[in-house]
Each structure stands twice: as structure tokens, then as C-alpha cells.
């Protein structure tokens, strides 16, 4: 099995999963705490629109999808801040719009919908060096944001109004945070597949939430849980010759089940 690790697609996949596994759960903590689950769904559906557009216009899929992601996030932020809708409602609105537009483009441009849907099933083995570099950059950005912006992130976690009362530019920090989450979801979707998004992004954060004794501890535990499940799931997939997505998701699920919830006094 270890011979396989010497093959470029295999070790690139492993490196990708190590980057994503150790840092995407940090973004997952933000998704959970700030209740951005709906935004995550919207970005997943945005992939359909991006895919339909790229196929219709015969353009490379990743730049088109990233452009759709950026546009979606900007519209969601704009609507939630000026249109009287919260982020959940504006995300839902954009999700419906993305699916509708994707359906129209698919119909009008005669794009095979099967090809569009196939984009949902990325594989870590398809990652090339440029994409690996992009994963590494995104991972560094998430870690740097979490560390350098620690106080503001925590204040936003605690209470948005209290964060604003301290004089911090919460909107700017929130925008950066939402974009980091968006790119994490987008990169995960395109290269490791829809199934792995939750396994990489959310499950480690949920597992950490069961045990964490402090917010600092929560981030560290989520990162370690993500790295552990990503690597162990990947190695199991090589050993049993099964898809890595399902094995990583399974490893996360098992860890979630076996880790007991910490008793909290009070």
C-alpha cells in the first residue's frame, strides 16, 4: 500500500487532504457558530450554475465556478445588509436563483445536465500541482486569519452587537470570513467532491464541539480531528481500495459516534 504513496496523484491527494483536513475545520467552526449552513448549501448549488455556464461558454470550469462563488457571496452579503433579509434568507434566495439559472442555461444552451452534475463528484486524485498550491494558499490564509484576527473572530462568536460596540469593523472581518468559507467550500466541491465537504469542513468542528473546554481548544481539536480523519480515511481507502471520500466521511462519522460529549457543570 505504501508503494502507492510514491505515485504523484496519490501523494498529491494526500497532501491536499492534509491541508484541507487540518485547516478547513477552522472555517467549519465559523460556519457552525455564525449559522452559515445555508450559505454553504447555496455555494454547493452555485457549482451547478458555474458548471452550466462553463459548459455553455466552453470556458474552464474552476475560474467560472470561483467567479460564480464570489458573485453569490457578494449578493448574499449585500442583501443581508441592506435588504432587510438575514443571511439565511438571502442565501436561500440565491440558492433558488442559482438552480433556476442553471436550469435555464442548461436548456437554452443545450448543455447535458449529466455533465453539469458530474462536477459535484470531484476526486482528490485529480488534483494537480497548481490546485495543490491553491489549497496550500487557502489553508495558510485560513490559519493566518484565525490567528491574526483572533480577538475579532471571538467577539463575533460571542455577540455581534458587542463586537460592534468595541469599535471594530465587524463588516470587513465578516466579509473576509465569509469569503474564506466560500473558497473552502468551492475548492472542496471541485476537487474532493460534495460528500467530503461536510466530512472536512463540518464534522471535525462538530466532533470538537463535543469535547472542547474553551474556544481555543475548540479550534485546535477541530483541526486535529480533521487532519486525523482525513489521513486515516485516505489510508483506509488505499488499503481497501475504496473511494477516499466515503472512507474519510466514514472515519469522521465513527469518530463522532465514539467521542463522548463532555459533561458541563452548571
Amino acid at each position: 500500500m505504501f508503494d502507492l504513496l510514491l505515485l504523484p496523484p496519490i501523494y498529491r491527494a494526500l497532501l491536499t487532504l492534509m491541508f484541507a483536513g487540518s485547516t478547513f475545520p477552522l472555517a467549519g467552526v465559523m460556519v457552525l457558530r455564525l449559522n452559515l449552513m445555508q450559505l454553504r448549501y447555496t455555494l454547493m448549488h452555485g457549482l451547478l450554475l458555474g458548471g452550466a455556464l462553463s459548459l455553455a461558454l466552453d470556458l474552464p470550469s474552476l475560474p467560472v465556478y470561483l467567479a460564480v462563488c464570489v458573485l453569490t457571496v457578494l449578493l448574499v452579503l449585500h442583501m443581508s445588509r441592506s435588504g432587510g433579509m438575514n443571511m439565511g434568507i438571502s442565501s436561500s434566495f440565491m440558492m433558488v436563483m442559482a438552480v433556476a439559472l442553471a436550469a435555464v442555461i442548461t436548456q437554452v444552451a443545450d448543455v447535458p445536465s449529466k455533465d453539469t452534475l458530474e462536477l459535484l463528484w470531484g476526486s482528490p486524485f485529480t488534483v494537480r500541482w497548481p490546485e495543490l498550491a491553491a489549497f496550500a494558499l487557502l489553508s495558510v490564509a485560513i490559519v493566518l486569519f484565525t490567528i491574526l484576527d483572533w480577538r475579532t473572530v471571538n467577539l463575533m462568536f460571542f455577540d455581534r452587537d458587542v463586537a460592534i460596540s468595541t469599535g471594530r469593523n465587524v463588516r470587513a472581518h465578516e466579509t473576509v470570513m465569509v469569503f474564506l468559507i466560500a473558497f473552502s467550500v468551492a475548492m472542496s466541491m471541485r476537487f474532493v467532491g460534495a460528500l467530503l465537504i461536510d466530512a472536512l469542513l463540518l464534522l471535525p468542528a462538530v466532533i470538537a464541539l463535543k469535547r472542547a473546554t474553551s474556544v481555543r481548544n475548540l479550534f485546535i481539536t477541530a483541526s486535529l480531528a480533521g487532519l486525523g480523519t482525513a489521513v486515516s480515511g485516505f489510508m483506509l481507502s488505499l488499503f481497501f481500495d475504496l473511494p477516499p471520500s466515503s472512507m474519510i466521511a466514514l472515519a469522521s462519522a465513527i469518530l463522532y459516534i465514539v467521542v463522548p460529549k463532555r459533561r458541563v457543570a452548571g
Partner: protein, 337 residues
Amino acid sequence: MSGYLDALDKGVSLALFDGGRVIFTSGGKWLHPLFEAEEFLRSSGSFAGPLCLHDSISGLAAAFLTIRLGVSKVNIDMVSDLALELYAKHGIEVHYTKRVERIKCITETLIRPDMSLEEAYRLLRKKADLTSGLSLRLEHLSFSYGDRRLLEDVDLYLEKGDAVILEGDNGSGKSTLLRLILGLERPDGGRILFDGETRRPPIGYIRQFSDRQNFPFTSWEVVALGLPDGVKDRRAEIELALRRCGVYHLKDRCFFSLSGGEMAKVNLARVLASKARLLLFDEPVASLDRDSRIAFADIMTSLSVTEMPTMIIVNHDRLLREALPWPVRRLEGGRLV
């Protein structure tokens, strides 16, 4: 100068003695030597006593401050009748060289003999500009939710270190007024000035947390959120704030698992650690038990005579109103009365 009954040395206007030993002298003017002596006593710990004081001049204002220092004997070169009465009322032994009807100083006209020690002390600290607060001015502030006019031409001026209780019926706009000051809402008209400027400073804000959230903030982490940027000894500041609010023992406990009273105290510690010059409280004691409300009021009273930030408390609670001798303003029909 070997004792408080001896003449003051040249250039000295006040001397403080621990028994027969001089422990503090000042050559300052007006009431400043008394504030300096207070600071000296606060930072120096305890003395064997009795504490005695020799002051060059003492009117009613100085008498209030002297009594508050905890001295038992005073020697005053020139004392007013009203000051003598106040000293006698508090059982302080007084020696004096010259007695006058009143001291000619504008401060004497501001102080009344029937004031409480705390009331007079607050007023004098404000006059001495020894408050950490800022001035807050609301000018012709108005705000609507849709068609409903909630606030109409609201004017309010708070001097540095002022503290006020804001009352009104449910939906009268009390919390909205706080949100406007915080910058969470934009007024339809009017403006808000902080020390004469529209630029909003960091504000200490407490609102009621009643829900138990599944997130592992420790009390220590919550207080750390309040620290201003650039604090050197973060641990000491957090510990001090937690101890002052009597919740140091909860430092490792999950904030959202605490009782309402404990949460309120940890939140208060967060605000104390922030050293914000303006503190806003939105029904901070709602749903707290009686003991917690009393403890909260005690800390607020202490704040209002020590650091003296400018404070507004939105309150419905009768016990808190009675415990805090602060002016009460009511919001009625969108206006402050």
C-alpha cells in the same frame, strides 16, 4: 513637623499621619491634595492608625473628602462653620487655628451639608476632572421603525462621569436609544456626540444573555474579549476584573452554562476590563435573583465613585433603582422626560 498638631512645613498644604508618623504630604492647591491622599491610601495598603490629617484650609467640600479618607483627627489652619458641623456629625476630633463662616470658593456653593458622602464625592471628582468617563450629547435624535415613530427629538446631555437610569414602558424605545448610541441603528435625524465629536469610541455594552448556547467560551475568555488593544499584563487585568466581580472561581467554567446572575457578573467583568469610558447596560439584572441584583448594584455603586465612567442603565427593576442613587429619566411618547 513631628505630629498632626504641629505647623505645616513651608510649601506643604496637607500632611497625613499614621499615628505620629508622617506618611504623605502635598503642596497642591484646592481639593487636589485630598484626592492625592486618597490615591496614596488606596495604593499603600493598611496602616496601624489612627490616621490624622493636617490641612491648611477646609470648607464643606474638603470636609466631605477628609471624612471619606477615614481619618479620626484633623488639624485645620482655617475651617468653615459648615465643615465643623460635618466633622462633628461624623465624630471626628477637630483642632483649628482660625474659624470662618464660609470659605470663599465656588465649590462651596455646589455642595450641600445634607448630601451623602458618596453624592458629594461624585460631584467633587467630576469637578476635579477625575473621572474616566466621556461627555455624551444626544441632539434632536429621532428614529422610526417603518411608519412607527419610536423616538422624537430626543435630547440628552451627560457630563463626564454622569450615570443615569433610563426607564419607560415596554416598546418605548429605551433599548433602541442604546442601539443608536452604539451605532447598531442609524437615526433618522439628529446626532450623537462623544466628547463633542461624532467619532464613536469603544463602548462597554452589556445586554441580557438568557439562552444557553452550545459554545465553549470560558469565563476567562469572555473577560479577555473586553481587554483593550495593547494591554501589557493581560492575565493580571483579567484576574483583577474577575475578582472584582467575585467570579474568579468561575474562570474555567463554560460561560453559557452559568446561571443568569453569574453570567451577568462575568459580563460585568468583561466591561470593567475594557476600561471603556462609556458603559451601556440593557436591563442587566432582568431575571436575576435578589442576591445577584444586590451584588450587581454594589459593583455599579463602586464603579460610579471610583473610575466613574459615563453610564446609562436601561432598567425596569425596582430594587436596582432603589439601590443606585442615580437620576432617573423616562422615555414617554418617544421623548425623554
